[in-house]
Amino acid sequence: MHITNRQFRALAAQVDELHRNNMKTFATEAADLHRDLHVRSSKAFKFDDQGIAGYAQSIELAAVAAYTAAAPALSAATLPVAELFMSHHQQHADAFGAVAGEMAVTAANAKLIAAVTPALQAITDEAGALEFAFALEGQAAYTYAAALTLLIDPAYAAATATILPIEAQHQVVLGLALGKDVAAVFPTDAFEAAALGDGSDPLKGLDPAVFAA
């Protein structure tokens, strides 16, 4: 069987499209890898288990601070739930801090606080507060899924694994309280995301390269 030049050009176009599509994947893979390697090589952040625990502790303390700031906008019916979530985050911070060694922190993550302050200041009602917390809880869960790719000691991983589902459940509770449909409380569908971002994307965790001190 033979082909015409037109068919050949069409096939060449397919090759070109394949190439372009694969280059898209290549670029994404390379960018992810580059970011991972950059993060790991950062001299400013110690990317061992203790460093990750200290970072997680700072994020949890920031969550406590954020809930505290948003609390005045909450109704009496909602406040107990927020207080429970805040206590969870404090417990998580304590757990991470207990094993962070010299990387333990004493204050909330300042960069994250600075990043979320405008959103916190813009909250005028309960829905706004819940929407803010909804995004933050998802980012916390995704941060831990990413952290698990780096934690070496299984004991640190085990502890992180007990915390991730709680953050995910916080997000579900907040989403349903907001009246979102069931699909919306699975923002990354059937799998938790393990990608990291600069905080602007609610579907990515909080990248230590951006937020670590």
Partner: protein
């Protein structure tokens, strides 16, 4: 355009076969490429010079760096990203209240990974099947829609786990976990007569699955596996929360029994003979 109709010596079937082959090769090679690079840069004993050789680029320490072509830029960028950074230290954390660092980085034999993956896959199949059976009792459209979505999630989880299992050279799991079905699900299904009964069965399964994943999240031998398993475990926990609030009309506080701030991480299948899939 007469040229367009000129015959050539190319067989279109053959070219299409070649295209498909190239596509398959590329699709399979990319993850391996990334994995290989991860290993290359994760091994502390490999020098920058050796990495440069492996990547096919000039060493950044050499003057021929300036002769790099565009194709070499990425490899060089990777080298630069790795650089001469201080290498991460071995964990030496002090014992804490809730976490006790292990003495050794890896405590579980590698073959245990397969046991856990197969067991998790068999639970996913059980969940798919159980939702199918329980659907007969669900009359509320919104709950049925959620159950259908969750069953779909479980099928995706099963597929993902089977990808890990077959990737390790073993056989995909296609049967549900019979031991867990016999011990937990069948008695409840036999007694179920209402929608609430069906949802409660689903809730029990979801919480058991989530707990199994949390357990595996600390027991699997590599960080990549532990993360992968918890990207599933978190979603099972979400399922449980939805079932409690949206289907059983429980309070948000009930999602966290006794106000718990940590998901249980002990093995929920420990008391069920045959629940671990070892074959």
């Amino acid at each position: 355009m007469t040229n367009d109709h000129r015959n050539t010596d190319f067989s279109s079937d053959e070219i299409r076969r070649q295209l498909r082959s190239v596509d398959r090769m590329n699709t399979s090679a990319m993850p391996q490429w990334r994995s290989a690079l991860g290993r290359l840069f994760g091994d502390e004993s490999i020098s920058t010079e050796q990495r440069a050789v492996a990547l096919g680029v000039p060493s950044p320490t050499r003057r021929d760096l300036f002769r790099m072509g565009g194709a070499s830029i990425l490899g060089a960028a990777l080298l630069a990203a790795c650089g001469d950074d201080d290498k991460s230290a071995t964990t030496t954390a002090a014992p804490g209240d809730t976490v006790t660092p292990s003495d050794t980085p890896t405590t579980v034999p590698v073959n245990m990974d397969l046991v856990l993956a197969k067991t998790a896959a068999s639970l996913e199949k059980l969940a798919v099947d159980a939702y199918g059976i329980a659907a007969g009792l669900i009359t509320t459209p919104a709950i049925l829609q959620a159950a259908t979505m969750f069953a779909g999630h479980h099928q995706l989880h099963l597929d993902a786990l089977n990808g890990v299992i077959t990737g390790a050279g073993s056989t995909a799991v296609t049967e549900m976990n019979q031991a867990v079905f016999d011990a937990l699900v069948k008695p409840a299904l036999d007694a179920a007569t209402t929608e609430a009964d069906a949802v409660t069965i689903a809730l029990t399964l979801e919480e058991a699955a989530a707990q199994t994943y949390v357990y595996a999240g600390g027991a699997l031998s590599t960080p990549a596996l532990r993360s992968t398993i918890m990207t599933i475990g978190g979603v099972e926990a979400r399922h449980a929360a939805v079932l409690r609030m949206a289907a059983l009309a429980q309070s948000p506080l009930d999602v966290f029994p006794d106000g718990r701030g940590f998901f249980p991480g002990d093995n929920p299948l420990a008391g069920i003979d045959g629940a671990l899939i070892t074959a």
